[in-house]
């Protein structure tokens, strides 16, 4: 602009940047230019502003920071000339976004420009406002924009209309103000104004129900007429695209008719004819025509039932599906997903074609087709479809396997007609894509296997065979070693042969080989190794003849770099060594059948770091001496696993049961490495070590810390472990354990003396429920807080199935004990539950907790949620 200016021209800067051969060189040039621009900005010379901003925009596009130019935009916008304003607004839209506070400074300039005498200046302001306005600006400037919708020039009217769509999106309250103005635009002849007007009406209808009613009553017929006119109009070169007059207008009209017809039979009726006409007459050999047809199909499917039209729509989709153009096939798959809702049969007819699309080389199409297939599955075709998908799993791309296997798993889980089929399919998936399978899927498989007692033999043999071939699939290996550990005897003895099986001969050594292989392989991860270790322990009792060999394998893990493995290896080793002396076989007997319902509940609600305790009295199944505490342990242990963020989830309780806690290996020092006597040993395995101050509550199994906080029971434990002779892993100890479990609620009086007193709080209060927390600290451990939660029903109805769930941030660890009951009687009924919170940032951060309470009132589910921020400081 200024011939005397010294700075380089925009063109020259772009040239020199393009001439750079390396990124470093480019950075150098940009740095120099930025320095010049900054200098020039500081000089505040209005002549270079224009050029500086243009350069900055280019630099910005290359990804360099340009915030220092933001104020220049504002200055340019505020200057009187059109060229300055033009580039200023461009810079504003490019360099700023609606969240920057600088933007507020421009509101005044915008207001002036919206009232400018030059329509192009008004246009610039509208465009900028429409592209980046924030809610605040929308509120401030809405009256101006509303007025401009009636402006004489169509160029301004259409810009104002789109600007209004942005405004009502940002501030839905303003929608009412625009209804009248928008309806006036629908009568326009100018296509630009009409398109934007229809768009504005569409936006208003989706935001505001009143608007929807208004347009439905007043405008439906007019819109249908407009659509008819444009469909039947003669060739108009200005708007023609591939033989169709203004497909953009077509599409917007159809879209608006869709919302007007949806849920209203009368309006739907009115538009039937024109929709049929568009659906039949539109040329489908070019993309523009297909775009219109696509929109028309969507409208037909969304409006109220007109079955003849729907047949037409499904036929169009069928044609789309067999089209050679990938784009058309993609949208067909997309639409068929919606069509399933009202005509499943028609879509099922295309099943073969859709299955072919799952195998398409195009990832986008594959993904759509897979979604569609999973919707097509029902009880009748599940076997056939699953077979197709699993067959394809073998040959599919690696990066597609994850999606595909996840879908197969969910299909199989949902529709499996019988357990054996479920197990078979899961084995196939695990064999082909085991490394992509999510944890909860194989956990679910184990739960199902555990429940299918007649299939244990079959499953373990099938897994054994599979793992020999696919030993690189981590999750397959895990499931296999779990099953071999549990059902190893069935594997070797061919117990429970099904008619369909070929008999195989597996020696005890072969079975141990598989597990040994898993534990020694360098790329097995910690979880697999830990599971293998437990399996070995179990096998040592199943296969007494080779227990020496098993002991050796276990012993090798003494040198493991993982502390947990090392420790367990030593413990297990001494168990195996002594197993002839003690009647410990009940300890490594089969897992009790895992409760499917509990697992599913947990799986459904398994948020990271959340604890869900079923608020029921702890179950005790008197089916054996140590089995009852085992079951209890199982419950507690698994809950804790959910609470410890580093452990995966659900089925880890298998390892937990035996004290192999992966999540908190270093923190847990509960079990003494060298057991002294048989009883100690047993207690150790169950992680009920003699209480020591070092034990802290991160340990997986909470009987330990229960002992810590409840002096009564820990005394009981002390007496127990010191006095009980080795053979007494029977009634006496069992009784002790029951005591331990029963005495879970610590006596408040004792707690109060343990540390500084904290005032009780009302953690939550609603119209029906009140929650109070009382706090206490165990002595010697300031990080831990024991919370006694009291739930009080203040409504006149009884709550049943009461469940309290809580989640805490990462720096906290939370353990929930079972609640005292799951029923809250009406009018002041109480339930208590103990929580233990460990604050790893004690003294720095205070406690915070989010909770969810579910219960039933008169058979209806009620869910309450809340966040507790009012914990006393210093907890």
């Amino acid at each position: 602009m200024n011939p005397f200016s010294s700075s380089t021209r925009l063109r020259d800067m772009i040239r020199s940047i393009r001439a750079c051969k390396t990124a470093a060189e480019e950075r150098g040039v940009v740095r120099k230019e930025c320095a010049d621009i900054r200098a020039s900005i500081n000089e505040n010379d209005p002549h270079d502003r224009h050029r500086n901003l243009a350069k900055l925009m280019f630099i910005h596009m290359l990804g360099y920071p340009t915030h220092f130019g933001q104020m220049e935009c504002l200055k340019l916008i505020a200057s009187p000339g059109f060229p300055e304003k033009r580039i200023g607004y461009l810079g504003l839209m490019l360099l700023l976004d609606e969240r920057q506070e600088v933007l507020m400074l421009v509101t005044n300039s915008l207001k002036q420009d919206l009232n400018h005498t030059n329509q192009y200046v008004v246009g610039l302001a509208l465009c900028a406002l429409g592209n980046i306005c924030s809610a605040e600006m929308a509120r401030d400037l809405a009256p101006e924009v509303e007025r401009l919708i009636q402006f004489r020039d169509p160029n301004i009217r259409k810009k104002a209309a789109l600007c209004s769509t942005r405004i009502v999106r940002k501030v839905p309250d303003l929608a009412e103000n625009f209804i009248n103005a928008a309806s006036s635009l629908l009568k326009e002849k100018h296509h630009g104004v009409l398109i934007t007007g229809v768009q504005l009406c569409y936006e208003l209808c989706t935001i505001n129900d009143e608007a929807l009613e208004f347009f439905r009553k007043k405008c439906t017929e007019g819109l249908i007429k407009t659509l008819r006119d444009i469909t039947n109009s003669a060739y108009q070169p200005e708007y023609d695209v591939a033989g169709i007059t203004d497909p953009f207008l077509h599409i917007r009209l159809l879209k608006l008719l869709r919302v007007l017809g949806h849920g209203d039979a009368d309006a739907s009726d009115l538009m039937t004819d024109i929709l049929a006409q568009v659906a039949t007459k539109t040329e489908s050999n070019k993309n523009a025509g297909n775009a219109v047809l696509y929109e028309c199909v969507e409208t037909i499917m969304a409006i109220e039932d007109t079955s003849s039209l729907r047949v037409l729509a499904i036929n169009i989709l069928g044609r789309f599906l067999s089209n050679r153009d990938n784009n058309i096939r993609y949208v067909a798959l997309n639409m068929l997903m919606k069509a399933i809702a009202f005509d499943d049969q028609a879509v099922q007819r295309h099943r073969v074609t859709i299955l072919e699309c799952v195998k398409d080389p195009d990832a986008s199409i594959r993904k759509r087709a897979l979604e569609l297939v999973s919707l097509l599955v029902n009880e009748n075709n599940v076997k056939q479809l699953t077979k197709e998908l699993t067959d394809y799993l073998e040959i599919s791309d690696e990066d597609f396997k994850e999606d595909l296997s996840a879908k197969i798993c969910s299909i199989v889980e949902k529709f499996s007609p019988e357990k054996i089929w479920y197990i078979d399919q899961m084995l196939k998936v695990l064999s082909e894509a085991g490394k992509f399978v999510k944890d909860d899927v194989w956990h679910a498989l184990i739960v199902v296997i555990s429940n299918a007692s007649e299939l244990h033999g079959y499953t373990v043999r099938a897994l054994y065979k599979a793992v020999l071939t696919y030993s690189e699939q981590e999750t397959l290996v895990r499931v296999a070693i779990w099953c071999i550990g549990e059902y190893g005897d069935l594997l070797v003895n061919n117990v429970g042969m099904l008619g369909i099986e070929d008999p195989i001969t597996v020696t005890e050594c072969d079975a141990v080989d598989v597990v040994e292989d898993a534990i020694t392989r360098h790329n097995s991860d910690m979880t697999t190794k830990a599971m293998a270790l437990v399996a070995l322990l179990k096998l040592s009792s199943r296969f007494p003849s080779i227990s020496e060999r098993i002991k050796d394998v276990i012993l090798k893990q003494k040198g493991s770099l993982l502390l947990e493995m090392q420790q367990r290896a030593i413990e297990f080793n001494s168990i195996v060594e002594r197993h002839k002396n003690i009647r410990w076989s009940s300890l490594v007997e089969r897992m009790p059948v895992l409760d499917e319902a509990t697992f599913n509940v947990r799986r459904a609600g398994s948020l990271p770091a959340s604890v869900s305790t079923m608020a029921k009295p702890s179950v005790s199944i008197p089916n054996g001496v140590s089995a009852a505490p085992l079951v209890d342990l199982l419950d507690l242990g698994s809950d804790d696993i959910l609470a410890a963020p580093s452990s995966s989830s659900g089925a880890d309780f298998l390892q937990d049961l035996l004290g192999v806690d992966l999540g908190s290996s270093s923190a847990q020092s509960g079990a003494t490495p060298a057991p002294k006597a048989g009883t100690d040993l047993l207690l150790d395995i169950l992680s009920i070590g003699t209480p020591s101050p070092a034990q802290n509550s991160t340990s997986a199994i909470d009987l330990l810390s229960t002992a810590d906080m409840n002096n009564n029971s820990s005394t009981a434990l002390d007496t127990l472990s010191s006095s009980a002779p080795p053979h007494i892993a029977t009634t006496a100890s069992a009784g002790g354990m029951f005591d331990l479990l029963d005495g879970l609620s610590p006596s408040p009086s004792k707690e109060a003396t343990n540390g500084p007193a904290y005032p009780p709080i009302v953690a939550y209060e609603s119209s029906s429920l009140k929650i109070e927390f009382t706090f206490s600290k165990p002595s010697g451990n300031p990080q831990t807080t024991n919370v006694e939660a009291t739930f009080i029903n203040i409504s006149p109805n009884t709550f049943t199935d009461f469940v309290f769930q809580a989640a805490v941030p990462k720096f906290l660890q939370l353990h929930l004990d079972p609640a005292s009951s799951n029923t809250l009687p009406a009018n002041g009924g109480k339930v208590t539950q103990n929580l233990r919170v460990t604050n790893s940032q004690h003294g720095k951060k205070s406690l915070v907790m989010r909770m969810r309470i579910g219960y039933k009132v008169n058979g209806k589910d009620v869910l309450e949620e809340g966040q507790i921020n009012n914990f006393p400081r210093g907890l």
Binding site: M1, P3, I14, A54, M57, M61, L62, G63, P65, F82, P83, R86, I87, L90, M93, D97, R99, Y120, G123, L126, C127, G130, N131, N155, K159, L162, C163, T165, R166, H191, G192, I195, T196, Q199, E238, Y239, V241, D246, P247, F248, L249, I251, R252, K255, N287, N290, A291, Y294, E295, E298, N326, N327, I328, R329, V331, P361, D362, A363, S364, I365
Partner: protein
């Protein structure tokens, strides 16, 4: 609604970006990196749609340039292809058989044209002629201002 428009060259160089939804600078460069990685690696025969973070990205290649528009999952993908083509045709008419260099050296012009085509992520004008007319009217205003500024009397007035 169109959330953003992206022009990327085959080498992955950004030629134009326009954001109709708020993205911070950091997110913007992440989006660009992510998408150009996906789109540039797709084969020529595949469909023009990519599903991405719950949105769809419709792209089309013209010579060495990829034109990408990100839309909501329920929007009409085929129509967006037409919008891209519409834009390209207008550019072509404006520059006279447009090439990548035109868009590099006159990037601001490409933005001006886009602003006459889309506002708030919605189509504003379906007539190429109308867009061309409005753009040239504004260009003329700029030219007129330039001439005035370049006139000797103006320079004298400024320097004295």
């Amino acid at each position: 609604m169109i959330h953003f428009v992206l022009l990327v060259s085959r080498q992955g160089k950004v030629r134009l970006t326009k954001w109709y939804s708020p993205y911070t600078q950091k997110e913007r460069s992440k989006v660009i990196r992510e998408l150009s990685g996906v789109i540039l690696n797709r084969g020529p025969k595949l469909c023009n749609f990519v599903e991405w973070r719950g949105y769809k990205v419709v792209y089309k290649r013209y010579a060495s340039l990829y034109f990408c528009m990100c839309i909501d999952a329920e929007d009409n993908e085929l129509e967006v292809l037409e919008i891209i083509h519409h834009y390209v045709e207008i550019l072509d008419r404006y520059f006279g058989s447009v090439c990548e260099l035109d868009l590099i050296f006159h990037f601001h012009k490409a933005y001006y044209i886009l602003d006459e085509l889309l506002i708030a992520g919605e189509l504003q004008e379906s007539s190429k002629k109308t867009v061309a007319r409005i753009i040239s009217a504004q260009d003329q205003m700029v030219e007129a201002a330039k001439e005035e500024a370049g006139s000797i009397s103006y320079i004298i007035a400024q320097t004295t």
